[in-house]
Point group: none
Chain length 216, copies 4
DNA sequence: GATGAATGAGAATTCATTCAT
DNA sequence: AATGAATGAATTCTCATTCAT
């Protein structure tokens, strides 16, 4: 892979991005193809065909194949995650905020199943060193930061336990939601994902044990 | 195109497997390389080098590159999951069983970090159609079946809530554990993964809410 | 395995074929290399080099190596055989037609020695199942059909014996001509092949026996 | 291909050949496999399996894969062609001799269809330079030499025309017989090949023309 | 900006041959 | 003599990327 992509080139690309809807066409096409085939199985030719452009055109908007995935995280996913934050802010209590976070998470991923598939697949690749996908980590981190804030508010409010290892709680919630989305994807998106939000929040808050066990 | 996979051929391979440690050498090497680079970035040449054999030797033990991943699931992972079941059976109460399951899960994955990495990465690929990786799905399903049984026992015992959507509970637990493992992998395996078992089970059972909230 | 041979793909290839002389360059180069080395001994790299293109370029015009041979029969050879039919039609009597057929056969093969070599070699491979070389059989059959028609006309005219087993006569003529071409190839193309036409036709018509023997 | 095969090695092989039936087993197996798949598509492993020996064993009896084909011509085919000569000698008149030659040719090839297939295929490969298959040429030449002698005798006897170009007559007969055998092979060996001998000889002697035409 | 033909490095896989047992 | 596991050179084919038009 040549690095031949100086600052001027990057600027030219950034400029194009704003003027032209082709950038978005290609990005959407790529996400669709990645979702269907996986990143490595997808070819530039397939993406170009799906986007209705020539192969070479892709290189006017993206540095290389990896860059498409990076842009996916940088533009498409980031925007989604920013909506999460907005939804959270609409809530008052911590529980409300948590519920809003999870509901919007499920909602956004249900709305864009291709994004969901690519996000889930690539986020669990631990070998993306090559792709310099700090972007991916950033995204997950942003999500978990929101959780942290909400839980801390809950602890202040007295609605959430104070004896929690916050680092673990973040993973616990993040992982559970991810897996629910994963299931939904595997099922072929047959059922309503958003309806899982309330039962999920209930599990987070109350757990699965009865009073008997909880007091043990 | 030769089918090159007739009964005799498969038998020859199966026979070799038992007599020879090379099968294991290659499988370990492959898992290491897959863990470092990801399946698709890994080349047969790298695996051969890591295993200390010639490229062609790999084809004496594996049908092709995909087959290595399939064998990984079929032999290496299956064996681990069977140990989970054993551990579960050592417990009496449902909570004990759940704790044993999660503890052995974390333990086994901590013991073999490469396996953990490959398992986590490939399990979240929704595009493995080509690999006929029913094996992967089977593995996850087996895991969730154990959870189901345990929770049902807990409901009978009265230690677990009866108003649970079992399908969701399975994902909830599976996802949370997976994400905890993922975190540990991303951290570089710095801390003791097994010590997360008790806090995790606590979260599953009691949730994160206080009495106040739970009664809402 | 991708089928990589959908209708659009084939169409793209067919389109290129007309616009571009590269298709012909590669086909000529391939026939030359096949003639020198035999199909199986020839490599894509050799053909590419001979054609003055990159290895990959070949795959823009041909599905795979086998396809080159198939195209050879489908386009190059077919065209030659159609000229045979034209030449035959120029004759009036059956003997004239037979003479024209054989003369043009020898002429065309003399004009394109590489084609002659490849044709002779591949036509006698009985193991070309893989190549779906119905094309080859078709070609030979077309040739023998012409012979049949001519002989039948001769029988009607009274210039050819009526007590002939037509199936045998076709092989008899086809085989003799083929072998004369083979000899010429083996000799290195030293002598004038076309001059063999008249003596050959004479042998077909009159045989090698004297009146004495013929009357036996 | 290494040449590492000094005189001592050759001698060792030659000695073995006589003592051991494995040589013949392997040769028969090879011919069978070559007939089914073609020389280049056949692998040593297939031949070994067919012969019921280990791959390495083949190299105790044959220098390399090419050598198997060479031995086929040198021992198996030669022996057949020597029988032709014997049969020819049983005839008195030239026509009788020609008939005996062709009959025994068809008979031997019908008796050993695998030999027939391999012989026909390899004889028409003009690209066997690598195989140093002078042996093949020798075989064909031997055959055509017999024809020459017979025709010359016929000319002396007055049963065959004196105005013949002998070089052409040889090809004419050789080619016609070969093609009749080829047809029989392609047909799957369904009919009796030997019964073609008389009609063929008739065509050679009398040709296909009527008196009318012959006198032209 | 857009195109898509051309490139060639790179990867999987095969298989003749060797050699330690 | 016989074996068959191991080797690694050789080959086909793919596909990201470039660049002339």
């Amino acid at each position: 892979m040549k690095t031949g992509n100086d600052v001027r080139g990057r600027f030219a690309i950034a400029t194009k991005r704003k003027n032209n809807d082709k950038y978005r066409r290609i990005l959407e096409a790529a996400v669709k193809v990645f979702a269907e085939q996986g990143f490595h199985q997808s070819t530039i030719a397939q993406i170009a065909k799906e986007a209705g452009v020539a192969d070479g055109t892709i290189y006017l908007y993206f540095k290389n194949k990896d860059d498409i995935l990076i842009q996916f995280y940088q533009y498409k996913t980031r925007q989604v995650f920013q909506r999460f934050r907005k939804e959270v802010e609409k809530g008052d209590s911590a529980v409300e905020k948590l519920r809003n976070l999870i509901r919007s998470h499920l909602q956004e991923f249900q709305n864009d199943r291709n994004m969901a598939i690519v996000y889930q697949a690539e986020t669990h690749q631990n070998q993306n060193r090559r792709l310099a996908l700090e972007h991916i980590k950033d995204m997950s981190k942003m999500y978990r930061d929101i959780i942290s804030e909400v839980v801390e508010q809950g602890q202040d409010e007295g609605s959430m336990r104070k004896d929690l290892y916050l680092g673990l709680v973040k993973r616990f919630i993040n992982g559970a939601v991810d897996e629910v989305i994963n299931s939904w994807i595997h099922s072929g998106g047959k059922y309503d994902l958003v309806s899982m939000a309330d039962p999920l929040v209930d599990l987070f808050i109350r757990g699965i044990g009865t009073e008997n066990v909880r007091r043990q």
